[in-house]
Amino acid sequence: MKTLFQTKLAAPLFALLLIVASAAATRAQDSRLQLNSLDHLSAKASQTVDVNIDEKLIRIALKVFSDQDAEERKIKEVVAGIKGIYVKSFEFETDGQYTAADMETIRTQLRGPGWSRLVNVMSKKEGNLEVYLLMNGETVGGLAVLSSDLRELVVVNIVGPVNLDKLAQLEGHLGIPELGIEPAKPKTKNDDEK
């Protein structure tokens, strides 16, 4: 004899499980930022660069980069495990072509669960630099960099296990611009006395 669960509740519960599983799958991709909200800036920018190295291209990179070439071997080691590298950068000829609201469309996403801003990060370049890390429990799920000054706006989004050292090694490669990122040195006693 079939139980009540088997006859009436099994199908709806299965459907519910599917929905939950689907939501979980979506959450696992959360470190990929939606950058389309910045697309309208292309019409004002003197130069817009959009780099999309998705999982397929990462796989290709791992295949084509040579172990014999020191530079390629280094990139290969760094990108192994990464699921995507996305860069959007805008250069403008005059000041004030993008607004705080444009930045906010990205920052809003970075206030989501798991994201936190790294405070001890500096840049050798002028302008503002914000670095965010997404933690999935103990592991790093992704990284985002917002670099801006009066005439430039750069967003870098790396999906997958990555850290500042890896990012620093990727600067200038695979479409990631030179951001001049360096972890800030810890304050010494002498610094406080100055």
Partner: protein, 186 residues
Amino acid sequence: MSYVKLKTFAALVMVLSLTANVVPNVVSAKGDDFNSIVKMIEQFYGVKHVGIPFLAKAGMKVARTAARIKGGEARRIAEAGSIKLAVFENQDFNGEFTRFRNTLNTALNQTWSPLVQTLSATDGEQVYIFVREAGDKFNVLVVTIAQRDATVVQVTLSPKNLALLMKDPEGTGKAITEEATIIDQE
């Protein structure tokens, strides 16, 4: 709600959640993407690509463009006989960056990966570079559109030469854009 209706609802929910995650986007470009893209540009901007005598000149452009990709040495990187080329000369390409980019990406996103796309609103220039696997080699499709000229180039690259492109995709886009200008002056 009756049990039958509940079951139907559950089935519907299942189908919706599965299709939302599994079914890929439907796109239009299939088969010969190179010709599809040339036609798409013709329709989008109301232009026509030019004939054979011009292609000979532009063939040189492709080789030199490829040679410039990494540092400007005179080195041919496209595999022999792999070059497909369409040239548009002295016609109007009136911007519409965002709409054109969306149309192009939608047409190619099933089989090609967009590596780098650069736009310059001030100069009216657009460069799009797509990559796809072709056996143990790779196809690279480069669409370059300036205010009055455009080229669509498809080449086959060895893994070694694709690595050169991938290491510096932004530089590649810029080099190709610059190349188009330089050749016109030569």
